[in-house]
Symmetry: C2
Subunit: 412 residues, 2 copies
């Protein structure tokens, strides 16, 4: 239970915080808050992972050069029969050429053909792959009706290597296609940037009269957003009910790279998260020039960065997407920018209302133009549900005016 003594013992930063209109002088600018975090959070180290598990991961170092790179290793680009191309010279529908099928492994015997699978090494002596439709097989003899040029059906080193190098040099998370190519080229384990391990602390129900059972709306939402951003939720602590429980959750010893606390970040008498952080570590920033989400805070426990997120769901989303999300994405080697699909559209009605704060505005797209939602003023989750997306209005800009072209981040 909160007492007035606790309130007075709160750190100065928290006491100076003032969210009244015009009272934003004490807030830290969003860009400064992000820079503060960046200066304290070097990129994570690499780890070895199997190529097969690399979808969504960011490479820390180029993979070992593929087997392709050694000139003797020609690989089949398709299923078929490994042959010497000159053995098929002149083959056609009316003038078939017959070759025996070699079942034994090892080098290709003179004037023979051997089954080969896409991705497999050609037997020594073969220089092309005859596709199945170019021959009929009967009693281990092929009747070939298609002349095959040299290197047909063989993985072309230049093309495969260009694709390999494009993947090896990329800074984006690997896609299913990339992993398929690395696997096809026989990539061994890969050095990938570690996934950031996140300790997610969700504050419990407040010590207020009339509170029904806990409604944890932030936990499921944050889990989904953290997964999207490549985070690994290692230690999840829900229902931390008071300053002592929050301090214990913040001070827990684990391998976390980031600690997120959802709820109790505000300036009310039972907003214990900033005080709990100051108890066990450092509360460096409390109050960020962001609307909604302005009660977010930053600090450290030991060497681990902590982001305090507001409990109100839309404020929680805004502070996650603009403060915590960039940290998680950057730690894991991803682009820290917002990951939403975007469209660029012309403003039909002014978007934004304050000059001093970075504003998150829920917007609707109508007839290809963008306008604030009817509910924009109250900045609620309910308003966001029915919006198409959001627009960020930077500090120093009161509103995006009619006719301006803005980037809409889509909610989907």
């Amino acid at each position: 239970m909160q007492t007035p003594t606790d309130v007075q013992a709160a750190p100065r930063a928290a006491r100076r915080l003032d969210h009244r209109p015009g009272g934003s002088r004490e807030l830290v600018e969003l860009e400064d808050a992000r820079r503060w975090l960046e200066a304290r959070t070097p990129p994570l180290a690499a780890e070895w992972i199997p190529a097969a598990e690399a979808v969504g991961r960011v490479l820390a170092a180029p993979p070992s050069p593929p087997r392709l790179a050694s000139p003797g290793n020609a690989l089949a680009a398709m299923d078929g029969y490994a042959i010497r191309s000159h053995d098929t010279d002149g083959a056609a529908e009316g003038s078939p050429i017959r070759l025996p099928l070699q079942r034994a492994p090892g080098p290709l015997a003179p004037r023979a053909a051997a089954l080969v699978a896409a991705g497999a090494q050609l037997p020594a002596g073969a220089d092309a792959v005859l596709p199945f439709h170019g021959a009929e097989l009967a009693a281990d003899e092929l009747t070939i009706t298609l002349a095959i040029p040299e290197q047909a059906g063989v993985l072309r080193h230049d093309r495969e290597l260009k694709a390999f190098e494009a993947i090896a040099g990329t800074a984006r998370p690997l896609r299913p296609l990339d992993v398929a190519l690395l696997s096809a080229l026989g990539a061994g384990p890969l050095e990938a940037i570690r996934r950031p391990r996140v300790r997610l602390v969700v504050a419990g129900p407040k010590s207020a009269a009339g509170v029904p059972d806990a409604l944890d709306s932030d936990g499921p939402m944050l889990r989904a957003l953290l997964l999207r951003d490549g985070g690994l939720i290692g230690n999840r602590i829900t229902g931390a009910e008071d300053r002592a429980a929050l301090a214990a959750a913040l001070g827990a010893v684990d391998q976390a790279d980031v600690i997120l606390v959802a709820g109790r970040s505000g300036t009310g008498p039972d907003d214990d998260a900033p005080r709990a952080l100051a108890d066990v570590g450092e509360l460096a920033i409390h109050g960020i020039g962001l609307r909604p989400g302005g009660t977010a805070g930053l600090g450290m426990v030991g060497g681990t960065p902590v982001v305090l997120l507001p409990g109100e769901p839309l404020a929680c989303i805004a502070a996650y997407e603009l403060v915590a999300g960039p940290l998680v994405r950057r730690l894991g080697g991803r682009d820290p920018a917002l990951p939403h699909r975007t469209v660029t559209a012309e403003v039909a009605r002014p978007i934004g209302s304050t000059r001093d704060l970075v504003e998150w505005c829920n917007v609707a797209l109508r007839d290809g133009k963008v306008e604030p939602c009817a509910e924009a003023e109250d900045l609620s989750l309910a308003g966001a549900i029915r919006a198409d997306g959001f627009v960020i209005v930077p500090a120093g800009c009161a509103a995006h005016a009619n006719g301006a072209r803005v980037t809409v981040h889509l909610f989907d």
Copy 2:
């Protein structure tokens, strides 16, 4: 080991298959193949899931009406003090009003205020929430400097209900925002469409000469695509090496809603997947008018649909995205259409090369226009890696001509 007798015993559909240029007469049209699947795969049943785990799930029935709907249940929209609004009439910076803080639960005493958390039920008697910045708390007494209108800070039923109804009526997978709102409204368990359970069978290395260790490029890729589409990979069987092993994998008894087999779908002598399917179930369609991916097949084992996918990675992707993916997405209640981000762009160089087949063409975006990749002709995975996306050219259309506007599905 494959013998010529096995080849001759293959089902008629497979023997008629012909992939030579101009030989597509026997192929089943992609649309007919999809209709065949649709007719045999009713949507999955619903299951109860906790609201907190519902991100990405599709509702099978509207959730129970929220607690909000009963008029007596006013909920706080924000953290603050529950009050009677008329008790703050006239409060201002120069003329504060004092109210005692009620710590006890239960109805709000006359001329009192009680702490309340966002989402919590207001105590009986309260009709508004005073934000923390509108009062100073000392010795359990509030000094209030802000007049609060009736219903301020209270969840407005119309708005919340509109958002709730928008979610309840939606056919798309729930987003983090949706789950946060349902949780905030106290939603209990939800009835969601079951996630389709997929048995993924990856054919092992072929019995060809010179094959090195197995290169499973399709397995990791298909796992990632299945996860994207909401599939649950329940039983994964890799390295099925021959007809008997594939038949055993196809005939396995489990709870699968879909069976995918990757590899060995072609017309070569060791392409055992179609024969194995005919051995234990029905091979209904083999050979689809799709390029690449034309060796895909469809059938049933017991009541479970089976999709045979080519082993060559790009053909495997194409057949997955256009045949298996729509099935998985539809079974789970999702939109069967391709889920990629798209852009619409003007064609700068003709895209496509055949009239009879649905073609998957890797394309590049240059200066806002779309053109086939240099590698488009060989339709390899390496070509796809360096492409920006793909364009589908429908059957009946040889090519998208210069100046046409086409939809590009982006690889990312």
